[in-house]
Symmetry: C2
Subunit: 218 residues, 2 copies
DNA sequence: CCGGATCCCCAGGGATACTG
DNA sequence: CAGTATCCCTGGGGATCCGG
């Protein structure tokens, strides 16, 4: 990218990661951990192959990404974030938090992945009952599966499934996320196609982070 | 900008503000408040006139910027952030904080402005002695003037000058910012051309925010 | 199948000139 | 002062191809 030519830390940051696809690539590396080229390509639907290779090369040269040989089972290379690269997490959190206000409308044809389902509760909710017992919530949105695990005072989430969840939410992504962040109530979520099974009181333990509760928008 | 086509709040955010110059334009509106077109153009050295006009139109249509008639003295229009636009402040702070690690090197020819000098202490330092008496620090870097005001437990900063500062720092931007954030000591700063006059103990009241102190880099 | 490299084409951005 | 108009050029999208 052309430099903005400004001695300003915001401009400097954008000089490095302001290019198209760059921050989404960092998102993938942050959410998935060390990843192969093909996994990244799958995680970034729409990216051109050459562009992904170029970005990875640039990020490596800037010192934000490291290329390493994968551990024994696989014989290929993996890409992972360096310390400087991982330090972008607050940037992605801030962007993601701000962007939540535009998640009310689902645009037809938008891609969706389990890891994007998982980071929302993990990043943007707290446990309102930190001393409460462990619990697991199974999320299923557009056939993507994620699990929220409550306990030890934290809200953790990951892509995948769990046996014996205490609560299961199945429905369109918009409804699942809306309910998790208390932006829409169960009544409206059901109208959007949400199915709820299990201990719905657990939803009360998910307290939306500041900057979200502002006011549900039309 | 082309949409990324992903149902992910980070991608959504970048759909709106990921375009070139957009976040820097928001930075200007945030730091300067309601601004005229020409002020924005001056605050964004290097931007093409047509691009600035396009971005303002796009941001207005997205609901991030509002165009209004200026109060009586001037007969022109001003642009200002809406609530949604101003909510980008945490994003700019996160980006700016991350970018500080690349401010050690000044690139020849980089533009520099007083408002960019001011936001660094205002955003990235706290008063280590919140109950301490009011004090003012005059900053002069590359002929740009800014003032830090301590008192009432907060660190405020603005472009401009003050009479009777308690401390005055004059020198290249890199040295002034480095000293403010405790990334370089006075000894080294002086070697870089910094001049210090007044109560240098006041520097001890500026406590760098988390995410900065990590370790000065070469 | 993985990890790219190559090629073509178009939209978005840069520089400058011009206008109400 | 507040933009438009124009031209040029680069960066990115999309498809295909290629070596391991």
């Amino acid at each position: 990218m052309r430099s903005y030519g400004q001695y300003c830390s915001i401009a400097r940051a954008l000089d490095l990661v302001g290019d198209r696809w760059t921050l989404l690539l960092v998102r993938e590396l942050l959410l998935r951990g060390p990843s192969r080229y093909t996994d990244l390509k799958n995680g970034l639907p729409g990216v051109a192959a050459n562009l992904l290779a170029t970005r990875l090369r640039e990020l490596e040269q800037m010192g934000l990404v490291r290329r390493e040989d994968a551990p024994p089972p696989v014989a290929t290379q993996v890409y992972e974030l360096t310390e400087d690269g991982a330090a972008l997490e607050p940037v992605l959190k801030a962007l993601g938090l701000w962007g939540m206000r535009y998640m009310n409308e689902e645009h037809a044809g938008d891609a969706f992945q389990a890891s994007w389902l998982a980071y929302v509760p993990a990043w943007f909710t707290n446990d309102a009952d930190p001393a409460g017992p462990p619990a697991a919530i199974q999320l299923v949105a557009d056939d993507e599966h994620a699990v929220i695990e409550l306990g030890d005072g934290s809200v953790r989430a990951r892509a995948g499934r769990t046996d014996h969840p205490d609560l299961t939410l199945v429905g369109p992504a918009r409804a699942v996320l809306g309910v998790l962040l208390a932006k829409i109530d169960l009544q409206r979520a059901r109208a959007l196609g949400l199915t709820v099974k299990g201990r719905r009181d657990l939803l009360g333990r998910l307290r939306p982070a500041k900057g979200l509760s502002e006011a549900p928008r039309p």
